[in-house]
Amino acid sequence: MTVKDPPSNVRRKSEVFTSEVLETMAEARIRWERAQAEVAAKRSHWKSDFTTVSSMEIPHLVTGEQIGDIDPISEIGVPGEFPYTRGIHPTGYRGKLWTMRQFAGFGSAQDTNARFKYLLDHGQTGLSVAFHLPTLYGYDSDHSLARGEVGKCGVAIDSLADMEALFDGIPLDQVSTSMTINSTAPILFAMYLAVAERQGVDIAKRVSGTLQNDILKEYLAQKEYIFPPRESMRLITDQFAFACQHVPRWNTISISGYHIREAGSTALQELAFTIRDGMEYVEYGIRAGLDVDDFAPRLSFFFNSHNDFFEEIAKYRAARRIWATIMRDRYGARNPRSWMLRFHTQTAGCSLTAQQPYNNIVRTTIQALAAVLGGTQSLHTNALDETLALPTEENARIALRTQQIIAHESGVINSIDPLGGSYFVEDLTRRMVDGAFDYIRQIDEFGGMVEAIEAGFPQREIMDAAYRYQRAFEDKEKLIVGLNAHVLEDEEAIDTLYISDDLADQQIASMNEVKDSRDQGAAVRTPAIKVRPCGLSTR
């Protein structure tokens, strides 16, 4: 396969401003620089560090002539048109709001089913399943390594019977489901489809949802992998092939920056490593014989939203522009749907504090607003108690209400990409694009993301950034309210959800019941579905 160089960001001279206007703006800028320097000489700034939460330098002021070389059509454009900087839908949020999709899962399948129904009853519009750790690794609840873990970090799913209980009374032709499952994704995907079929739903026409299925970010950040990278990539490209043939409305992967950021990366690293991961999946898919336009439209993304408002918005806008450019120019995709970067956002868990936990509602609101202004397709807002435990029902509801208030009361949905054209936001977006292409080139030099991971490059970059941030926090260069500023000495603990260790015994008992009652012979005799890459079948 030939791999073209990433496009050098060719800039044309602006046609927005005439040279006279540019000159006048430059003169005004000089006047401002003089004026602010005079004031600063008398009274110095109240602090010295005005960088983002990722320690990105932020200009004091961006003026029009500084972005005069950004092309208003080929780099910014309009929503629904290449390069999609301003959004993928021509109708923005007037056509359809983002999907409110709260990540949930704890205890038994019955416990989580009740939480799903509670969230749907309160206006949630999609499901998102958190599985417990043994399921993420493919261990049964009675495995020695599952001791203490059952139902703690997510819902315990050992069998199809558990999966049926999880979605009991929830029509899978009417709700889309996202599943945070990676190493064992093929198994849980199969179970989900089996539940849908048993409900009488036509999986070829009516089932939609998303598998996280992003193994590369497991090596980078989340670390819940089973197999080595290359073998894992084969499992994933096989699923691309299966789904585009049998479950065409399914998003086969959610290429995730979220965990990279939670592991301590900067916003730019999150953006760059996630896009480069996406490119790796595209390259492996093409090498597996698939046509890029058969599977690329079903690739989806998942980003974090941290506290630094404009940095986040610029990140989402940059992500769309970079992906469209790479898909069209580097991989030769012809279908516009292959160029569109669709993404889910989760507000930053790592930004929340155990201290004065109600402050977390405010943080989450700012982060959710950034995601919406950045044009997210779906959103999870964290509950205020998530540094302490999985959320209580009440706190989960407040988190959902946060999204509903933004959607229905703030008015930010009325106009698409309302920050587009802001000198500052366009400049920041461009810096994100340029910075990401620099990282992409570095990873290309390793031979690709798998090779870069094997060399430990992105892992080191993330860890160094995490340690720098910790130092900046401990040296009070970065202030976190309630932690190193405005601290309360005596805080009252809040009530949290407690998952008892007794659950494990019940879960193991019900799993043994399934094992005792099933017909193992029938399971062995059932032939596997033969998968043929759809690209090969049609071309």
Partner: protein
């Protein structure tokens, strides 16, 4: 007393892969002059105790965010005792519900650090506890807060 005289094992029991905290603590202890060994992910109690004994460490720091602390942490202190290694100081950090803290301390976890801890507090804690232990106040002090 500087940290350089002490060897510390930072270990991750449980299945979760959240190693940001463990690695930051390991690096901060290293920068403070301790000799630090990091176990890597998904270590069983048996593996952690074997490493602690073989490496002859003064203290073991356990990082766990999976929720399995009630089962795995007491197993580690039990195994240390069975191997006559109770003089090794055991501390922990992670997402530990308030109600689990006292039972864990009773099982021999000397100190539990919660979200929001600064690394300097961990360094100061180890200096204090290990210098106290060097003065002859060893295993018996492990149940003191």
């Amino acid at each position: 007393m500087t940290g350089s005289q002490h060897r510390i094992l930072i270990a991750k029991p449980g299945l979760d892969g959240h190693d940001r905290g463990a690695k930051i603590i390991a690096r901060a202890l290293r920068d403070a002059g301790f000799e630090v060994i990091y176990s890597g992910l998904r270590q069983t109690p048996e593996q952690i105790v074997a490493a602690a004994i073989q490496e002859d460490v003064r203290a073991v720091g356990l990082s766990i965010l999976s929720g399995a602390h009630n089962v795995l942490l007491p197993e580690i202190t039990d195994l240390l005792a069975k191997n006559e290694a109770s003089e090794i100081l055991v501390f922990a950090g992670g997402i530990i519900p308030e109600q689990d803290i006292q039972p864990l301390q009773e099982s021999g976890i000397d100190k539990i650090f919660l979200p929001g801890t600064v690394t300097g507090d961990v360094v100061a804690y180890l200096h204090e506890r290990l210098s106290a232990a060097a003065g002859g106040d060893t295993a018996g002090s492990r149940h003191r807060e």
